[in-house]
Symmetry: C2
Subunit: 249 residues, 2 copies
Amino acid sequence: MSLSLRVGQLAARAGVTVRALHHYEAAGLLAPDRTPTGHRRYGAAEVERLQQIVSLRSLGLGLDAIRRTLDAPGFDPAAVVAQQRAVLAADLDRLGALDRRLGDLERLLRRRAEAGTPISPDTFLTLTTIMNDILKHYTPDQLQQLAERRDALGDDAIREVEAEWPRLFASLGAEMDAATDPAAPAVQTLVARWDELVAMFTGGDAGIERSLGDAWEASGDQMAQMNGLSSERMRALFAYAQRARDAQP
Amino acid sequence: MSLSLRVGQLAARAGVTVRALHHYEAAGLLAPDRTPTGHRRYGAAEVERLQQIVSLRSLGLGLDAIRRTLDAPGFDPAAVVAQQRAVLAADLDRLGALDRRLGDLERLLRRRAEAGTPISPDTFLTLTTIMNDILKHYTPDQLQQLAERRDALGDDAIREVEAEWPRLFASLGAEMDAATDPAAPAVQTLVARWDELVAMFTGGDAGIERSLGDAWEASGDQMAQMNGLSSERMRALFAYAQRARDAQP
DNA sequence: CTTGCTCCTCACGCGGCGTGAGGTCCGTAC
DNA sequence: GTACGGACCTCACGCCGCGTGAGGAGCAAG
């Protein structure tokens, strides 16, 4: 007169659905007896095996891994756990990176909103595109350095710099429109400040600066849009600034 | 004479696969023109939209959410980011909880391996089952308290306690077999120690102790197996200990 | 005209089930 | 005996974001 449960009973007792039991059976994990009419009967052995299945599932193992584990009587528990932690660590890394990116974005949006120059939907899309380009052009190491650099600068400094870029472009644009000699002190001062701002973020790392150049090239149009300039004007500004740098004493 | 790319070209340029472009189109995200023979031609507008799609995807948005976002010209960037972070936070919580559980298991396995009493595959499965039962019977708050309690105790103390349980059960079993009066000092001392060990982990919290009782009831067989006892003997031991507690002066 | 590449449209696969659809079996009440 | 509600059965599609062929047509160059 041994234990014999029907699907619904076992499901209720084990805290799983009937469908899951069907699925486990189809996956070759659990093989109950059948009554002559085809109804499933679960004995003590199946109950125990189901508990093991459920527990291993709760550790994140897939049904395939569970089957392999349970069917290998001499498996190494430590290896199973370690393997699972490794898989999980990879997932956590990806999600963590995503979270950092979203956090960066959130802070930027908040800074701009608080500064009275909120990010419009269009600019937001442009911004995410730039972020994406940057991620393609920088190595993880470089990104790490940039993040540290930014944290070291602090929110207030970033706020000021963000506000300074448009002014800088405007001033430089005015000189360009006036056809000022790129070697003139006024232009030199502006370009020096430009390079200073860039250096603030790159920390003077040559590799990072080079990557920044690549990223700028890839998303020049977006950068222009972010600063309210046309692509052509942005390119002209870049060229003008470069002539100024070349004309340095 | 405007920009016109074919799938392969756009795919290469945007760093996605041709299949993905097909998929985005089927999902109603991207609608390129077609040549008379049915080949797709992507113009500047489609290139830009693809960049937006790719960037939003890189923030973790699903295709459906991307479509809703891009098709709502007045969406709120902050809301999109916040929503996405919320989703992500939930995922991170789940994975974090999983990681803690696996970490607990890993430490327990290591302690037992170092103590010379490694966990066998069978015992491991029993153990995960118990962990599962415990998780069902405790509230998250209680689990939190238990974890803190454990950290406060430290590895060495835990090691000693783990080694003490089997000895305690053996001693108490001997008294039971000898039919010693439950009120006898020797028995009282052992049961007091039992309750002390339990209290060490529950921190004396009544709610936690009650839940522990439930969990013990649910996985009594497994507890017995872990300590190398039959279910019947385990039950007898529990009953004997209870009589001792009732017989307290 | 042929070669070799790119493009096209189905359509299945994955992981772990949820969720019906349509039909059978079981235990109890009449 | 039979009628009824509930539990059970077996397909089989849906989800999410594509990967991965299969089988065939278009396209540029020799």
